[in-house]
C-alpha cells in the first residue's frame, strides 16, 4: 500500500512532466522544436516562434501550474477540515469573494494591480466567512452531512457574482478589461500579477505541507487529534487561512478557475489516501496537470477561437460535481464525508 502511494506520486510527477512540455510546445511545427527547446534553455529570442514560446506559452504554463496546484491543495485541505466532499474554494464562496473585491477595487477605487491583489485576498476571506455565517444562521449544527454549508456557499457565490456583474455593467468603458478575467482566464499578460503575488501561494503551500500530519489527525475527530498532541483550533485556523489566501492570490492572478479544487481531491484520494503527507504533494502535481490540460483544451480545441480556461474547468467540473453529489448524497447507503 505504501508502495502504491509512492507509485501514484511518481506517476503524478510523470504526468506533469509530460503535460507541461505538451502545453508549451503543442501546435509548433515538429521541425522547429529543437530550436525552441534551445531558446527555452538559454531564454533567448531568435525568431517569432521563440517569442511566442517565451512570452506567451511559458507565462501561460507557469500561471496554470500556479492556479491549478494551489486550487487542488486548498480544495483537499478544505474538504478535510469541514468534512465535506463538496467543499472547495469555488463552492465555499472564496473565489467569488475574491473576484468581487478585486473588481470593486479596480472599478470603484481605481486601484492598481497590487491593491487589486490585496482586495482579492480580503475578498477571499470575506467570501469564506460569509459562507460560514450563512450556514450557521441556517442551523448547520443540525446538519451533520453539511449540505447547508454547500448551499450557503452557492448562495454567497450567486450574491457576490451578481454584484460583480452589476459593477461590470455599470462601467461600459472599462468592463472589457475584466469581462474575460472574471470567468477565469489564463492569459500571458497576467504574468506581471503572478510576479507580484507568487510568494503568497508559495507560503500557503509551505504552511499546508508543514501542517499535513496534524491536519490528517483532525480527520479522526477533534478529541482524538488533541489527545495525539494537535492544537486543533490553531492548526485549523492556520490551514484555512493558508488555503483561502493561497486561493485568493491565484484569483488575483487569473480570475476564478472553478472546480479544479473540487474535482482533483476526489481523483487523488483513492490512490494517495487521506493522509495529507502523501495526498498534498499528489494534489499539487495533479492540480497543475489538470489546469494545464484544461488550458490546452481551451486554447486548441476550438480553433480559431481561444476560449477561457475557466469555462473549460466549469464545464468539466460541473459534470463531475453532479457525479460526486450522486455518490455522496443521493445513492442508497451513501458514504460518509471525506
Amino acid at each position: 500500500m505504501m508502495e502504491r502511494r509512492g507509485l501514484f506520486l511518481s506517476l503524478s510527477g510523470l504526468l506533469l512532466a509530460l503535460v507541461l512540455p505538451l502545453h508549451l510546445f503543442f501546435g509548433f511545427s515538429p521541425a522547429s522544436l529543437p530550436g525552441l527547446a534551445l531558446s527555452l534553455v538559454h531564454f533567448e529570442v531568435n525568431s517569432y516562434e521563440d517569442a511566442v514560446l517565451l512570452f506567451q506559452r511559458l507565462p501561460r504554463s507557469v500561471i496554470a501550474v500556479y492556479a491549478g496546484s494551489i486550487a487542488a491543495a486548498s480544495g483537499f485541505v478544505l474538504q478535510s477540515l469541514v468534512r465535506n466532499p463538496l467543499a472547495s474554494p469555488a463552492t465555499l464562496g472564496v473565489n467569488s469573494g475574491a473576484a468581487l473585491f478585486l473588481v470593486a477595487a479596480a472599478l470603484l477605487l481605481d486601484a492598481d494591480a497590487a491593491v487589486q491583489g490585496l482586495a482579492a485576498l480580503a475578498g477571499a476571506i470575506t467570501g469564506f466567512l460569509a459562507c460560514l455565517a450563512v450556514a450557521r444562521f441556517a442551523g448547520r449544527r443540525n446538519d451533520p452531512r453539511g449540505l447547508s454549508l454547500i448551499l450557503s456557499g452557492a448562495l454567497v457565490s450567486m450574491l457576490f457574482t451578481g454584484m460583480t456583474n452589476a459593477l461590470l455593467l455599470s462601467d461600459p468603458a472599462r468592463r472589457a478589461d475584466f469581462l474575460s478575467w472574471v470567468t477565469g482566464n489564463i492569459n500571458h499578460v497576467y504574468i506581471d500579477r503572478l510576479a507580484m503575488f507568487w510568494w503568497i501561494g508559495a507560503a500557503a503551500v509551505l504552511v499546508l505541507l508543514l501542517l499535513a500530519r496534524p491536519l490528517t489527525l483532525i480527520l479522526f475527530g477533534e478529541d482524538k487529534a488533541a489527545s495525539a498532541g494537535v492544537n486543533v483550533p490553531l492548526v485549523s485556523r492556520a490551514a484555512i487561512t493558508a488555503a483561502v489566501l493561497g486561493t485568493g492570490s491565484a484569483v488575483a492572478v487569473c480570475g476564478p478557475i472553478g472546480f479544479v479544487g473540487l474535482v482533483i481531491p476526489h481523483i487523488v484520494r483513492p490512490f494517495a489516501g487521506n493522509n495529507l503527507v502523501h495526498a498534498l504533494p499528489a494534489s499539487l502535481l495533479c492540480g497543475a496537470s489538470a489546469c494545464l490540460l484544461a488550458d490546452l483544451l481551451a486554447r486548441e480545441a476550438f480553433q480559431p477561437f481561444v476560449i477561457n480556461t475557466g469555462l473549460v474547468t466549469d464545464l468539466v467540473g460541473g459534470i463531475v460535481f453532479i457525479v460526486i453529489v450522486k455518490r455522496f448524497y443521493l445513492s442508497a447507503g451513501s458514504r460518509e464525508a471525506a
Binding site: 505504501m2 508543514l210 500530519r213 479522526f220 489527545s227 495525539a228 492544537n231 458514504r335
Partner: protein
C-alpha cells in the same frame, strides 16, 4: 501519578462531575465503573481537558494538566475515545505512524527508533501482517486492536481508554483486556479504563472507581471496593459477590418485576 482534586465539570449548565477526588496509582490498571450517564466518559474527558472544568484540578505528577501544552501532554497521556472514526483510504501503518506525531519535529517524520517501536506495537496487537491494510476494511476485533495499537504507538506512561471492549464479542473482550493487562505488567504503564462489565473488572483490574451521578462513591483495590453493598448502592441492584479461582464473581439477582426501581 495522575490524580483529580475536587474535580467538577459541566456540559453547558448541566453538571456531569461534582467534587471528584481520585488518585490513580502508577503502574496499575484502574477500572472506572458505574451506571449509564454517571460520568465515566466525562471523567476521562475532564482529565484530558476536553470538558470545561467548573472546579478543582487534574494533576499529573503534581503538575496541573491544564497548564501543559497539547503536544507535551500527548507525550505523557494517550487517550482512546469511546467511538473512534477512521477516514477512508487510511492504512493501519499510516494510522500508527500518525500516533507518534507529538514526538516529531515540525514537518518532520518518524525516526528509525519510532519505526522499530511501530513494528513492535503491531506485533504486540497481532496485526504485523496488516500494516498495509485499510483500517476500515479490518474486522471489528482487528479494528479495536488497531485503535489500541495507535494508543501504544503514542508511547506514553499513562493510557486512558473509554470502553475499549464495547461492541466486541466475549472472545475479543478477553483478548483485548489481556493485551491491556500486559501493558501494565510488562510495560509498567498506568491504565485507566471505563468498563461496563463487573466481571471483566474483577478479572482484569487492580483498582476500581465506582461512580454514580457524577460523584465518586468508592475507590480502591478491587477486592476491598467491590462489595454487595457498594454495587447495590451504585447500580441499585442486589448482587451476590463471591470468590472463585482467586477473583471475585458478581452475580446479580433477578428483581422479578419488569418495572423495578
Amino acid at each position: 501519578m495522575l490524580e483529580t482534586r475536587q474535580l467538577s465539570a459541566a456540559y453547558g449548565s448541566t453538571a456531569v462531575l461534582s467534587d471528584v477526588s481520585i488518585r490513580f496509582p502508577k503502574g496499575r490498571l484502574t477500572a472506572v465503573v458505574g451506571p449509564n450517564g454517571c460520568g465515566k466518559s466525562s471523567l476521562l474527558k475532564a482529565i484530558m481537558g476536553f470538558l470545561p472544568l467548573t472546579g478543582g484540578d487534574v494533576l499529573l505528577d503534581g503538575e496541573p494538566v491544564a497548564g501543559i501544552s497539547r503536544k507535551k501532554l500527548a507525550r505523557r497521556i494517550a487517550y482512546l475515545p469511546q467511538e473512534c472514526f477512521c477516514p477512508d483510504y487510511m492504512t493501519l501503518g499510516e494510522l500508527i505512524e500518525l500516533a507518534g506525531y507529538a514526538r516529531y519535529s515540525l514537518g518532520g517524520g518518524p525516526t528509525e527508533r519510532d519505526r522499530a517501536l511501530y513494528r513492535q506495537v503491531l506485533e504486540t496487537v497481532g496485526l504485523s501482517d496488516r500494516a498495509g491494510f485499510p483500517v476500515n476494511k479490518l474486522s471489528g476485533g482487528q479494528r479495536q486492536r488497531a485503535w489500541i495499537a495507535m494508543v501504544l504507538a503514542q508511547d506514553t506512561d499513562v493510557v486512558l481508554m473509554d470502553e475499549p471492549v464495547n461492541h466486541l464479542d466475549m472472545k475479543y473482550q478477553f483478548a483485548v483486556l489481556e493485551l491491556v493487562r500486559d501493558l501494565v505488567e510488562t510495560h509498567g504503564k498506568t491504565v485507566i479504563t471505563v468498563l461496563h462489565d463487573l466481571n471483566l473488572t474483577t478479572a482484569f483490574a487492580d483498582e476500581v472507581v465506582l461512580l454514580r451521578a457524577g460523584t465518586c462513591i468508592k475507590a480502591g483495590p478491587v477486592a476491598e471496593t467491590i462489595t454487595s453493598r457498594a454495587i447495590e448502592d451504585v447500580f441499585g441492584l442486589k448482587t451476590q459477590i463471591f470468590p472463585r479461582d482467586g477473583r471475585l464473581v458478581c452475580f446479580p439477582e433477578r428483581t422479578g418485576s419488569a418495572g423495578a426501581s
